[in-house]
Amino acid sequence: MLPDLWLIPALPLAAAAITAFLGPRYLRQQSHWPCIIAIALSCVLSLFVWNGVAGMGEEQVAVGQYYSWFRAGTVDIGFSLRADALTAAMLVTVTFVGSWIAVFAVGYMSHEREHNAGYARFFAAVALFIFSMTGLVLADNYIVLYAFWEGVGLCSYLLVGFWFAKPSAAAAARKAFLVTRLGDVGFFIGIMLLWSSFQVPTASGGWSLEFDGVFGHAKQVAATNPGLVATICLLLLCGAVGKSAQFPLYVWLPDAMEGPTPVSALIHAATMVTAGVYLIARSMPLFHLVPGVLLTVACIGAFTALLAALIALTQTDLKRVLAYSTISQIGYMFLALGSANEASLVAAAVIAGMFHLITHAFFKALLFLAAGSVMHSMGNVIDMRRFSGLRFALPTTHWTFLCGALALAAIPPTAGFWSKDEILGVTLHASHSDVPGAWLYVWLFAVGLITAGLTAFYTFRAYFLTFHGELKTPPEAGEHVHESPGVMLWPLRVLAVGALFLGLILGPTHILAHFLEVHWFARSFPGLHAPEGGHDIVLMVASSLVGLSGVAVAWWMYVRSPGLAGQLANRVQTLYQLSLNKFYVDEFYHALLVTPMNMLARVGRVFDTYVVDSLVDLVGHIPRLGGQLLRPIQNGLVQFYALAMMLGMTVFLGALVLRMVR
């Protein structure tokens, strides 16, 4: 039994409206209630959707066609939602993680509670984000998906710039919005190309962009015009790269850490940044027709994973380490999706990507929230050089952070281990296919394995620096360092359980794999058979050894002999500086793109003030000049007016008489 699909986005939307309009005046310090209740209800409904989808037949899908959104010429776009296995998995993840993060935010934003408007604004934006995100995954056609896609971008902008009085936060919000917009332009052009070239007819005689129709036509179009499908896929990839912070558009995500930590957890780790992965997974019926594009996806993913991991090695800001690890982990998801270069691998690739998406949502949200808890206790200090040895001062935060770190480092049997193992497995399988360029996947696999080791190292570097060593706290933390309140610790505990056991529940039991195969794959790829996936024991042992050795190296360098890290940094000063300065990518972009754009803007401004404005001013001056000439006539003397009237009349009558006489 499926609930009404529209309720899932509608509830958070209602909460956002209530909080925005009533929050500052009436709800005040209770502004979080509508948001939390609505997201929790959406979560319950999402579980019903999962259950309902699981109860449907193989090729069925729940579609809710609500109304015709707009019609223009031959386009006929309906506001329609659909639920299949991909959607259900995303929905449950988003709303479940989202509700716990909202609970955490009540404690984290307690300083903000005194300023009523800010508190209400925060929860209104969070509810609006959940509305957009659930709408994004429920959308049944590309236009509705794009609308919600921009919606999550807007919420990200609002929440990154939450402390907009801070110049760095305002700049970060602007950067996040503009950089993702760069990708979105490509995405939109891709949608337009889809519309103009696929021409999927609807019942009412127009063309639509509904997923089923588009994917049904894909094979036919690819047979006649393979270049077109490749172009469309590359343009869709553009949007995904922007939103999911992949190379070369990843630069906005580390800066987005200026937002409040629950926002970093919710939007910039667990949910919104995975929208790109979801887009590619959803469009897989298009992507799998062009193996070249899939190879691009995989290369971008692997390269981003490695680059971000290398940068994360030396960062000193705890939240930034986590931000780079997010970029890196999403790179893994792209690598997984890109490995679907053969029909038999499509199911396994998407399952691996989605599996990692789900587990990553749990453990990365957990890590961010734990970092937020540290930040809360340390008086908003997040620089790891300024505190250490917090494991006894913040016991619960310490344990939950450790759970998240283990999952991120992919130590068995935590969640991250199972999903990362599946990704590496599917990459290895892709290298065996006979598609041109398949040999590259061996290298991508190697990059993935190396990155796994680096991930374990930098994660545990952050863990050891923060929680081990001598107790050291910054002066901002106050005299007595205290653990965060319960409202912040319970979400940590719940997510920690998820980070530890979710992989075990979904992975080896094939629950997720079976769910996606039956209720998404079978319908999207009719006629294709998904081979039974198995776990490669050798690979499992290898990847866990890599992960463990990363942890061991971190332990050696930061606990056993703490001076070693500094010596090593001095030894390879160039590499250290490269990593510390994020490979100068920001500076490169600044010199190559931002500075010329600024120059152009400045030229435009000069042109505007001196040429356009003066022209407009000139037009404005003409009536004024006329007025200047005529003004003396208005001198307020009654007799002058009377004289003018009389003279005028005389002239008029004189002319009349002269005309009559002549």
């Binding site: 003004r631 003396p632 208005q634 001198n635 307020g636 003397l637 009654v638 007799q639 002058f640 009377a642 004289l643 009389m646």
Partner: protein
């Protein structure tokens, strides 16, 4: 006795109108100006009556009755207004009221000053009636 021909009336009307116009433009006393305006009005009214009689059409005469009625109303209102204006400036000079000119225009000042008004004789006053007249204080003979 032959009836006067039309143009005789018209000449009188035109003369009245012209005199009124000249007076309106040259005099600065508000009441005089108003009387001049009335004179112009009557010149026009005379025209109407003359034409009406000449053509044997009663409309012109009916019109004139209205003109006279309206003029009477005007007179009542105008005199009330002049009274108020006089209270503000203690003068009936029209050139003292130039406030409705453009804001940045200089006020027009007449080079020739007005002739000095003749000194008014104080009005004779009667002793107030109905009061007990003041009497010298009575002193009691001791």
């Amino acid at each position: 006795m032959t009836p006067l021909s039309l143009h005789n009336y018209l000449i009188v009307g035109a003369a009245l109108f012209a005199l009124g116009a000249i007076g309106f433009l040259t005099r600065r006393n508000l009441i005089i100006m108003f009387l001049c305006a009335e004179m112009m009005l009557q010149g026009v009214a005379l025209n109407l009556v003359a034409f009406s009689r000449s053509w044997g059409n009663m409309q012109g005469q009916a019109f004139t009755l209205f003109v006279v009625t309206v003029a009477a109303c005007e007179a009542a209102i105008a005199l009330a207004l002049f009274l108020v204006l006089f209270r503000y400036r203690r003068s009936l000079d029209v050139s003292l009221w130039q406030d409705l000119r453009e804001p940045d225009q200089e006020a027009t000042v007449d080079d020739e000053s007005l002739p000095e008004a003749p000194k008014e004789e104080p009005m004779p006053r009667l002793t107030p009636a109905g009061h007990e007249p003041k009497r010298p204080q009575e002193t009691s003979p001791v």
